[in-house]
């Protein structure tokens, strides 16, 4: 896969420079360009929300910094965690006196660095709480759910936490509602082609013309299994079943559904998937309250898609419907 690049070493810095030039009304940075925060931060009295992680996943992570969602983001290199110091800078800048919640994916590097940042922030009397996203059912069986990685389901967590914080929720309330949301969110995905880390210059894995990876990671790491490429309907059914088996919803439950493209898969194909998913849910007596079809968390130019279900109740619906505006996500 060919890329439009300058020196690969400057990939992230140039990307951020372009992003700040394109959205000067919404985003700025603190200390270092790799520490993105809202222009209106800190917001006094509001619980501040931060995330962080490797680059190469736009709109994840920093694309959700904005009104009704996150306050700041520590930006790592491609597929690499940001450092603890960066996280501390973001934390200091967005803290509005009501505490900070870190919401991010369950990856070793990120966990270690956010833990280091937490220790440093608490040293400065900033109260920090962590909510880890572990939504990928493909990454570990239910009995080892704690080991699961966090993928695109985090976008729903950002949305719910952001709405709760914007409406004046306390630190405890924001943490509780985000954990409740995540307890009801599951994702499963398939990859059809690999992606290329600009500095590596070659694809992360290679895969045959008629094969697919089941349960790939959003960093291009191989999935659990490699299989023959299936039809859109088969893939949709497979993902739907895997999630429902894990989430165990009741007939009559309302869901938010997200069909996420990993990068190279066109929106047309995502809607073909959505069609089948909608049909399968209807058969089980499950209704779709809101559908999100598009690119919400990518792996550069990887082809493939993931499916996320979020079981809703009235509280979740109110927060999901709450307006938001970021450079990549606008809901009215």
């Amino acid at each position: 896969m060919k890329k439009i690049l300058n020196n690969p070493e400057n990939f992230v810095t140039e990307m951020l420079d372009g992003l700040l030039k394109a959205h000067p009304d919404q985003l700025t940075y603190t200390e270092d360009i790799h520490c993105i925060v809202r222009t209106d931060s800190p917001i006094e009295g509001k619980v501040a929300l931060a995330t962080g992680g490797g680059s190469g996943h736009l709109p994840v992570f920093l694309g959700y910094v904005g009104k009704g969602m996150l306050d700041g983001c520590a930006v790592g290199d491609v597929f690499a965690s940001p450092g603890a110091e960066q996280m501390l800078w973001v934390t200091q800048r967005i803290h509005g006196g009501a505490g900070v919640v870190y919401i991010y994916g369950n990856y070793g590097g990120d966990v270690m660095n956010f833990d280091m940042a937490t220790e440093m922030a608490e040293f400065e009397d900033i109260e920090v709480r962590t909510v880890l996203v572990k939504d990928d059912v493909a990454s570990a069986p239910p009995e080892e759910a704690e080991r699961r990685r966090g993928v695109v389901g985090m976008v729903f967590a950002f949305k719910i936490a952001g709405a709760k914080a914007d409406r004046g929720g306390s630190l405890d309330e924001v943490v509780a509602v985000t954990e409740k949301a995540l307890a009801n969110i599951r994702t499963m995905g398939v990859a059809l082609s690999p992606c290329t880390v600009p500095m590596a210059g070659k694809p992360t894995f290679s895969i045959g013309e008629d094969e697919m990876e089941i349960g790939m990671g959003i960093h291009g790491e191989p999935g659990m299994k490699r299989e023959k490429l299936q039809s859109a309907d088969e893939i949709s059914e497979r993902m739907t079943t895997a999630i429902l088996d894990d989430l165990q919803p009741q007939e009559g439950d309302r869901l938010a559904v997200m069909v996420n493209g990993l990068g190279a898969t066109p929106p047309e194909e995502l809607y073909i998937i959505y069609r089948k998913v909608h049909e399968l849910l209807a058969k089980r007596g499950l209704s779709v309250y809101r559908a999100y079809v598009g690119e919400y968390a990518t792996s550069m130019e990887m082809a493939g898609a993931s499916l996320t279900f979020f079981r809703l109740d009235d509280e979740m619906i109110e927060l999901l419907d709450y307006p938001a505006r970021t450079p990549f996500f606008t809901q009215i």
Partner: protein
């Protein structure tokens, strides 16, 4: 007479480690592509490239401060799992020799032990999970034993390296249980853990030229 390791020797060893990480970029990247995200060579090269000028520009007077500073530099340059563990290792090693400007073999053993503990505390991996711990921990134990037995530094280093290599081999048939590789599941069996490989690279660089000659150059 007790062998004493000078600050300059420590700085040179850290430079050699940096150099080795840069040289092994492709190998480490390939290993990480097979069961991770393929960034390890890149991250460790970044750290190497940050530590080389650090070693050149920083006086190793207080070796504790020197190593803690190196750890912070490493974390800034490459905060991936391996980078963060390396940063933690440097900071923990620095802590136990705070204020010292030259080191005894026992200091080295204490540092090694701190590195082993630090990595396990930060990463929460246990021996057998198929992580860098499976190379670090046996190497630490072998080194401690050798030093306690009073062998030369060169011999102790060689024993530690052998233990690290054995540790790597021992876990290769296993399934990875921590980090990204754990999600690859069964497919990790039979593949070399990139973290173990990186540790072997680093340890080889520390004791190369063989530690016997350390005492000559100090």
């Amino acid at each position: 007479m007790t062998t004493l390791i000078s600050g300059q020797a420590v700085a040179r060893a850290l430079s050699r480690v940096s150099q080795a990480l840069i040289e092994q970029k492709e190998t480490l990247t390939s290993l990480d592509q097979a069961m991770g995200d393929g960034d390890m060579g890149i991250t460790l090269t970044k750290i190497g490239n940050a530590l080389l000028p650090y070693c050149a520009d920083t006086a190793p007077d207080d070796l504790g401060k020197f190593l803690i500073g190196a750890g912070m530099t490493a974390n800034r340059a490459g905060p991936s799992t391996m980078g963060t563990l390396l940063a933690t290792a440097l900071m923990r090693a620095g802590k136990v020799i705070k204020g010292k400007s030259e080191l005894t073999p026992q200091d080295l053993a204490d540092m090694f032990a701190a590195v082993d503990t630090g990595i396990q505390e930060r990463g929460k991996a246990k021996p057998g999970d198929k992580t860098i711990v499976d190379a670090v921990h046996p190497a630490n134990e072998a080194f401690a034993q050798a030093i306690a037995a009073g062998v030369t530094l060169a011999e102790a280093g060689a024993k530690a390296l052998q233990a690290a290599k054995n540790g790597l081999d021992n876990v290769t048939p296993l399934r990875s249980k921590m980090g990204r590789a754990s999600w690859v599941g069964e497919r990790t069996k039979g593949k070399v853990d990139p973290g173990c490989a990186a540790f072997v690279v680093m340890l080889s660089a520390i004791i190369e030229p063989p530690s016997a000659s350390y005492s000559q150059t100090i």
